[in-house]
């Protein structure tokens, strides 16, 4: 697949010495969901603003579909959609009016615009609220409308800056579903997020960014693999040492198993047999089948896979959770860099 976004050695400095983006490079393929994961202040919003022509880069290269984001602004603007962190909708207008206005910004003829707006309202489940002013809308509804408004031009690439920050779980799920749907239809999506779960759920590939630098890049699975293997722990009926020993022997012969731990009996919760493997989920069925065939009764089987949280912790020495909690104290108004 061809690269639709190409960024090479991108720098952005505010004023004299506030470095927001410090020499990042990455490529996004056509049709993929590409994630930028990192805490606030990592340079995510700055990068997305440069790519969407809202900010001028200090140095480096950034092209969208071959067009330079600074030199060919108007060409870039014709093929992108952008949904910002602060929801860019007009509260005095109705949902329908907001979308019609966006249509006229994209020079869509009135007759076409009407149909398009109806379709979009349907997609984001705002048909019933279409003619209500936004003053009465919930955060989730506004975000859905904002997403719809970035889609009026049928963009080739959609940029989403923290699409679910501050949303309730149901609204978050809704946004995730739309993003997945859009991507299935072939839209390339570039999104920034500070949520591990979101990156893991949506992104085909992602960059982990911290302090203006990319600290890791890959598929979520690749990144997780960097910090270690999956662990499967089997617990047996209390103190059934013979079952455990038998299982240990069987497991060590199984293909795909990297290591088998010792049979520790005693306090049931911590003990049990630990199996290390590259691919936990697919090993799980094999293990169950093998045990079943040998007539070994298992009390409990646990699979633990590394999370992106752990990846972030390993790469940067800090956890995202702490940062998220700190950021949550700030008001939602703060404008991203």
């Amino acid at each position: 697949m061809e690269d639709i976004i190409v960024v090479e050695n991108l720098h952005k400095t505010y004023g004299k010495d506030l470095v927001a983006v410090d020499g990042i490079s990455f490529r996004v393929k056509k049709g993929e969901v590409f994630g930028f994961l990192g805490p606030n202040g990592a340079g995510k919003s700055t990068t997305i603003k440069i790519l969407t022509t809202l900010l001028e880069k200090t140095s480096g290269k950034a092209t969208i579909d071959g067009f330079d984001v600074d030199a060919d602004q108007s060409r870039v603007r014709r093929i992108i959609g952008y949904s910002s962190q602060d929801v860019g909708v007009d509260d005095d207008l109705t949902a329908r009016e907001n979308l019609l206005l966006q249509c006229s910004f994209h020079h869509i003829p009135k007759t076409q615009a009407k149909q398009k707006v109806d379709d979009l309202l349907q997609t984001v489940r705002l048909k019933d609220a279409a003619d209500r002013r936004l003053k009465t809308f919930s955060g989730g509804m506004r975000k859905r409308l904002d997403l719809a408004s970035s889609l009026v031009s049928d963009p080739e690439i959609l940029f989403l800056d923290e699409p679910t920050t501050g949303l309730d779980p149901q609204s978050r799920q809704d946004i995730w579903d739309y993003v997945t749907q859009l991507n299935r239809k072939g839209m390339t999506i570039f999104l920034t997020t500070q949520y591990m779960e979101e990156a893991d759920r949506l992104a085909n590939r992602l960059c982990i960014v911290d302090q203006g630098k990319i600290v890791a890049e890959g598929t979520p699975a690749e990144l997780k693999a960097q910090i270690g293997a999956d662990k499967i722990t089997i617990h047996f009926k209390s103190d059934d040492l013979s079952a455990c020993e038998k299982a240990k022997e069987l497991m060590s012969k199984l293909q795909g198993v990297e290591a088998v731990g010792q049979c520790g009996m005693g306090l049931a919760a911590e003990n049990g047999l630990t199996i290390t493997t590259k691919n936990g989920p697919s090993m799980l069925t094999q293990i169950v089948r093998t045990m079943d065939g040998a007539g070994i009764f298992m009390e409990q089987v646990n699979l633990s896979v590394p999370t992106l949280d752990e990846v972030f912790l390993k790469l940067t020495g800090k956890t995202l959770n702490v940062i998220e909690r700190k950021e949550a104290v700030r008001t939602g108004r703060q404008r991203g860099r």
Partner: protein, 261 residues
């Protein structure tokens, strides 16, 4: 390209008009101050009309008739100088980014807003003129003169708004934008021929008044209200409006393009 820009301006123009219709109270907001002046100041100072030279210089002995021009200017200025507030709100809400990412011209964003503000200004001036008529002010140039007065008002509001837009874009603060509006209007009004005919002003004030655009706009209004069509005064008004417009709006567009691209 030209056609596209027209449709962009039309879209942004109608957006602001819709917002105005939804909150008609905003039309009256900036009218409060001028109205207080119109009703109280003219009563307290009505004796000014009895000064013999006043009639000689202005052609009327009714101070309220003379002062109507000042009230109209004050209305236009306070309306124009709050133009930037809408822009600040758009910057804060993220709506501005939405517009900037769309393939539309920066000037369209500004002109759509300015044309809508001009409508607001005309409505406000009509209200002021109607109140004036009720208070006994007679417009010598009749209906054509009143229309000319409205046209000058719209044009003056259009170019004077440039200052507010410029401040708004540079400070991104509605407080600062509003303060600049409040702090400039009164000194400029009293350092012009709007409140007192030039000949009755102290000589240093006269010097300032001669380079103050308020003077020329006020004199055009005054002649339309008191004397009828005096084209030279109307020309001077338009010349000062154009000069302000080119400077203020030119600077605003430059800043807008730079800040944002």
């Amino acid at each position: 390209m030209k056609m596209e820009m027209l449709s962009e301006i039309a879209a942004i123009f109608s957006r602001w008009n819709t917002k105005l219709v939804r909150q008609p109270i905003l039309i009256f907001f900036s009218l409060i101050n001028p109205l207080v002046w119109f009703l109280l100041f003219t009563q307290a100072f009505s004796a000014i009309g009895n000064i013999p030279t006043f009639k000689l210089l202005t052609g009327t002995s009714s101070y309220i008739t003379f002062f109507t021009a000042a009230v109209v200017i004050q209305t236009i200025a306070s309306s124009a100088l709050s133009a930037g507030i809408g822009l600040v709100n758009d910057l804060d809400s993220g709506f501005m980014d939405k517009m900037r990412v769309a393939p539309i011209s920066k000037s369209s964003i500004l002109f759509g807003k300015l044309f809508s503000d001009a409508i607001t200004t005309v409505i406000q001036v009509v209200i002021i003129l109607l109140i004036g008529l009720a208070l006994g002010v007679h417009i010598a140039s009749g209906v054509p003169g009143a229309l000319m007065l409205l046209f000058i008002s719209a044009a003056f509001g259009f170019s004077w708004s440039g200052i507010s837009l410029f401040v708004a874009l540079n400070t991104k603060s509605s407080q600062v934008t509003l303060s600049v509006g409040l702090l400039t209007t009164f000194p400029l009004l009293f350092l012009s021929a709007a409140v007192m005919p030039l000949g009755l002003l102290p000589s240093w004030v006269q010097q300032v008044a001669k380079v103050n655009p308020f003077t020329y706009v006020a004199q055009a209004f005054q002649t339309l209200i008191i004397n009828g069509f005096v084209w030279q005064k109307i020309e001077y008004a338009f010349i000062s409006i154009i000069i302000i417009g080119v400077i203020a709006l030119g600077a605003t567009i430059l800043v807008f393009r730079k800040k944002i691209s």
